[in-house]
Point group: C2
Chain length 720, copies 2
């Protein structure tokens, strides 16, 4: 070695490396809203002062879960080990339990109902007691999550005094998961349910799934696809479903299964599934009995019948009530319910598809059993970025309805587009739907909840966006939609902005410098998608099968109502689906005050204009623009909005860990690219059809329509 | 509140809760052998003393990767931040770089070859320098991993002096991943390759995949299923493959693609794929050119042709050499290779399938281009728990061969059975295959490596067991097989026990109290599987299609050689496939000394007995048992062995985190259940066929054969 110093000198230029701690686990989104980061310096000392010990009274598995959650949560939030004494705790104590367990405290009982809870503080003997009280163990668990979330959202707990109880009874996720773990319309990996390893292996993730759901009040999960496989009702699969129910039970979550209507034939050896056949009825009764032997608190059946090729009672000239009631009778002795989907459209029907659910169900109003809920998609077509609410919500008087929202973004950009759906669901839930004789306006929520004997028989279902992806939902912001679904099912009166704020605070940080711009971005995000995909009441413009990307030109599918061209009806004169009284008259399915408003383009709000009306490209809009100009304006606005979202997010780097920030930034870049693609493809097509040029100031699509038509996507996920 | 003290006293009985740190991430197996836990108290002070600064010289992306890895690794192992100075470091320094970069040190150059490295220590001016030197940047990266692994295995570094270089040139994973992310014979979730989000989203997991592979010397990856889809060769997918190659490049890993032989028809618009057709040749040349425009260092093609329905040159009356050479010519100008699989069996062939690969390839010995490697499965049938080595390894003189092992456990218990395959591969690699005229015995490794112009044209492929499961491989112990494949591809002379020990030390702990029993358990695990599935040379007894569980009774499939009954040929008189000179004479494909040994049941080793011979149930074994008794003995021994493995693992709880310990314990319980199932189903069937009872002391199968036949598994994963 001649010049050791020369070598060592060469080291001078070495870049300095940031040495990460070896086990500094990346922030990969797995923890959802159970990310128990320590509270800010502002709050932590006060939290610590007010809670120096925990006591959760009781000994059920649910109470044990509450105890574990509170211990884990507070250890994180307070950043210290909280004493759980074996002797009388000194100091300020958090006490949780049922009112019965807490009877010594002589509390005023709040009206918390079977699942709700109250959180209060009191002073006793110089100590502060923070009290979570409920009528039931599950209420105690919900209250445990409630208090932890309050703290995660950066709220002080001194003097806390709140009561929370769910407005709906059945708050369900619907997993469209096949038994081979393929998830229809799933953009987050495979099904969580590892049927092959069940019943022997209980993946710890099942417990985390239950925790995350209990934290937002979800109390039921339908495990399997509504396009059902009868196999799941065989002993082989019931044996596998049972341990899932066991894992979920302490968290208040019931298991439901999808019932294939033809199961008596496929796995029962019968030659019919006719609901009026006594053998068929007996088969379902015995099957229900068998299921309840495996799962004593089985929730019931979810059924898609006579829809998109699924078998159903109409195959035997029976009606939906005949079918639903047969299943309802089978589960009724065990306390089960049947959720019968209203998403039906007849195979041989050529009239406006938007009208069909109403026409198939309203005639049977009053004929369904008490334990049947008709599960109605929010809009009359199929989870489009914007639809008016389904008229069925105001169409029946003696039929119990439950809402079906789609959490997974089949039509709103899959996993990569940031689209917060709280606003969309709020729009539906708050929509005026009916007027009483006294002139009081009732919303969709009123029709669904109060209109249906209130708490005891109401419900809300969300088609899950959950899979094996590490972050559960395919993207971090898609977690917000799972969260919002749970919160709105618990309380449909919550406003979407509050929910967004709660979620963002717990998922990232309660720092207002982060929350204000990010919540604003979330609040505008769904409207951006509407703008760049289907503005002004347009709908069903997506490409066929996978539903990824634009396909407004598609007009050659077997059924008329599978074609985008059927829905937009664009030609050289105009665009839009005439559902007014001079068209399909779908508008007549709504209450009088809405019928009047929506029958006339002049009074129809812009966002539903082309849903209800076919108008000339030159139709003059409120804005002063022509319809054509307005369409172009919206498509452009959608793209601009995504650009703005990217800018907002770029500025959030100081508040977010590098890993999640980068993934979200990458996904926003994809969203911008795809927003442009939607804009360009749709505008290129409408330019061709209308023979019109773009207004001044708008950039021309870089390709002609044939280019956009030529694109194909064999790897698009989630195809049915 | 009447009795506050009474309430508080009630708290006395509360159980004490262990409060986990909130962000104590569970040990979920994601970190593989890159789990940089701090060294033991015995070693850490000395490591710290010897390395107080790091200098990795150079500025390529590969050197940057080495620098990042070393920084991350040492921060963990030393549990301190290691100085990477911008001025001359004081103290003992780790210096890494190419010999050229380290020329000031005047090192003796070791013969490390293009990918190897040397690690030494020297003293200079009172300082200790630990030196990693190589001829290439990738050698520096391999040496970085080498030193880190040395420490993770609990070895002292004082006086370290080692040289390591790979014995084979091409060390590839073969992913049998479809473009829809379904993995054929995959038991670890979906394909890692998220084709839908590529090229825009580069999942950070791609980088971790590259790190894990570089750490064990894997330098190539074939991304797509050998049952190939021509789509992957279209620009749409090449654009998506390119960023994967970009991510892998700094880690020395080249991307390969599977070429569907009929691609010129399917995506090229030609009406033939005849390799003698000039248009077809030109199409492949242009396609190669196009691929290299996307991926300048593209590795080449992997091809399954004229096998199990795949198209190939025989469709045009051409032979394997014609097909392989055409593709080889297309990639040769760019430095690419073609790996042409020898797993072929003719659709209309009725003779012994074990003989076919030999018969299809030996006639073309010497006719393949220099850049063609014939990729040969370890055995002549199909990755069974035990097969003799493929005779092709000793059947050609002027043809380059590479080994194909199956890492994914298609036939060895999917993800839940613990079966360490290092022993199986060692058995093949070390098997005597040929004798020279001088009487020297050559092993399979000798035939494959030395026999083929040594380093420059040899290779080993492993069918990957990797998917989106958090632990990559479906189970923790399946990670050992990925690890062992890489290590044996780097150095086929390594013994399986050493490799198991390395892996277990890095994956769990280098504590001998753990390593000794666990490595012993691993070493015996594959033989246990052989015993409870296919002892004594039996093979192909699994059920059809999914290959999950036993199906020895299956005899009704279209092709004779798809039926288990074809392979065991059991009847009331005896069992086994006569491949001796009086039978199919497959034995004649082996070298003389093996032919002699294996042609006579008296000299054939027990473990291959029924592979080569059909024998009476009463045939007397070396053990003194009859063949029937010996079969029963082995089936029982397999089950007993799994019971013992469970006991061993139960005792390891003190050394392993709770999460991984529990999953492994759960999987071992499944393995025991399924080992019994295999034993009982096979014995019940052979009892029925042979008309024999079990020997005394063996428990009868609890069900008759019809029960086992009735089982079916619609959710079994990985079906082709």
């Amino acid at each position: 070695m001649k010049h050791p110093k020369a070598l060592l000198a060469a080291l001078t230029a070495l870049i300095s490396l940031a040495l990460a701690g070896p086990n500094a686990q990346a922030e990969d989104g797995y923890d959802l809203w159970l990310r128990y980061e320590q509270a800010s310096e502002d709050l932590r000392p006060d939290y610590r002062k007010q809670i120096s010990a925990i006591a959760i009274l009781g000994d059920s598995p649910t109470i044990a879960a509450a105890r574990q959650e509170m211990a884990t949560g507070l250890a994180g939030i307070l950043d210290k080990t909280v004493t759980v004494g074996t002797s009388v705790p000194r100091g300020n104590t958090l006490v949780a339990g049922t009112y019965d367990a807490l009877s010594d405290l002589d509390l005023d009982r709040a009206d918390v109902g079977p699942e709700g809870y109250a959180i209060t503080q009191m002073r006793r003997d110089g100590r502060i007691l923070t009290i979570i009280a409920a009528d039931s163990d599950i209420g105690v668990l919900y209250g445990t999550f409630g208090l932890l979330q309050h703290m995660l959202q950066g709220e002080p707990i001194a003097g806390i005094d709140l009561v929370s109880r769910p407005a709906t009874q059945h708050r369900l996720l619907n997993h469209w998961d096949n038994l081979d773990r393929y998830v229809e319309r799933g953009y987050a990996g495979q099904s969580l349910w590892d049927w092959h390893k069940l019943p022997d292996y209980r993946d710890p993730r099942y417990t985390d799934y239950a925790r995350a759901n209990a934290a937002i009040g979800v109390n039921g999960t339908s495990l399997t696809n509504v396009n059902a496989n009868a196999e799941v009702l065989t002993p082989q699969y019931l044996e596998k479903a049972a341990p899932l129910a066991d894992v979920f039970r302490p968290y208040g979550i019931k298991v439901y299964l999808t019932a294939r209507f033809s199961a008596p034939i496929e796995i029962g050896g019968l030659d019919t599934a006719d609901p009026s056949n006594e053998e068929v009825q007996a088969w379902w009764e015995a099957k229900a009995e068998e299921i309840y032997n495996y799962i004593p608190d089985f929730g019931g059946f979810l059924v898609k019948a006579n829809s998109e090729g699924q078998p159903g009672p109409q195959d035997y000239d029976r009606n939906h009530a005949d079918g639903a009631n047969m299943l309802a009778d089978a589960v009724a002795p065990h306390g089960g319910i049947v959720m019968w989907r209203a998403f039906v459209y007849a195979a041989d029907e050529t009239q406006d598809r938007a009208k069909q659910a109403w026409e198939e169900f309203v005639p049977f109003d009053g004929q369904f059993r008490d334990n049947v809920l008709i599960q109605v998609k929010n809009g009359p077509i199929d989870f489009q970025p914007r639809e008016p609410f389904s008229p069925l919500f105001a169409g029946v008087e003696d039929t119990k309805l439950m809402m079906e929202f789609q959490i997974t973004k089949e039509y709103l950009g899959f996993a990569t587009h940031l689209a917060y759906l709280g606003t969309m669901w709020e729009e539906t839930l708050d929509a005026p739907a009916q007027r009483t004789e006294e002139g009081e306006t009732l919303t969709v929520t009123d029709m669904m909840v109060s209109g249906n004997d209130a708490y005891t028989v109401s419900g809300m279902a969300g088609v899950a966006n959950i899979g094996t992806d590490r972050n559960w939902s395919g993207s971090i912001f898609d977690q917000a939609n799972w969260y919002a679904f749970g919160r709105l099912a618990w309380d449909p009166a919550l406003d979407a902005e509050t929910v967004a704020r709660e979620w963002a605070a717990m998922t990232f940080t309660p720092d207002r410098a982060f929350l204000d711009p990010v919540v604003a971005m979330m609040m505008g995000s769904r409207e951006a998608v509407v703008d760049y995909m289907t503005p002004l009441g347009l709908h069903h413009l997506m490409d066929t099968g996978h539903h990824y990307g634009p396909g407004p030109w598609v007009d050659d599918l077997d059924r008329p109502d599978w074609n985008p061209a059927y829905y937009h009806k664009a030609d050289e004169d105009g665009i839009g689906f005439d559902r007014s009284s001079s068209g399909s008259d779908a508008v007549s399915q709504y209450a009088g005050f809405l019928r009047e408003e929506w029958d006339d383009p002049e009074t129809t709000p812009d966002e539903l204009l082309l849903w209800f009306h076919h108008l000339s490209w030159d139709y003059e809009m409120r804005s002063g623009r022509t319809l054509w100009e307005e369409i172009v304006h919206h498509y452009q606005r959608g793209v601009d909005e995504v650009e703005a979202m990217r800018e907002t997010w770029d500025g959030m780097a100081p508040y977010v860990d590098a890993e999640r920030h980068a993934q979200i930034a990458d996904f926003l870049a994809i969203q911008e690219k795809e927003a442009r693609w939607w804009r360009n493809a749709c505008l290129a097509y409408f330019m061709e059809v209308s023979g019109r040029d773009l207004p001044d100031g708008y950039e021309a699509p870089p390709h002609d329509v044939d280019h956009y038509k030529s694109l194909y996507f064999p790897s698009a996920p989630g195809n049915g």
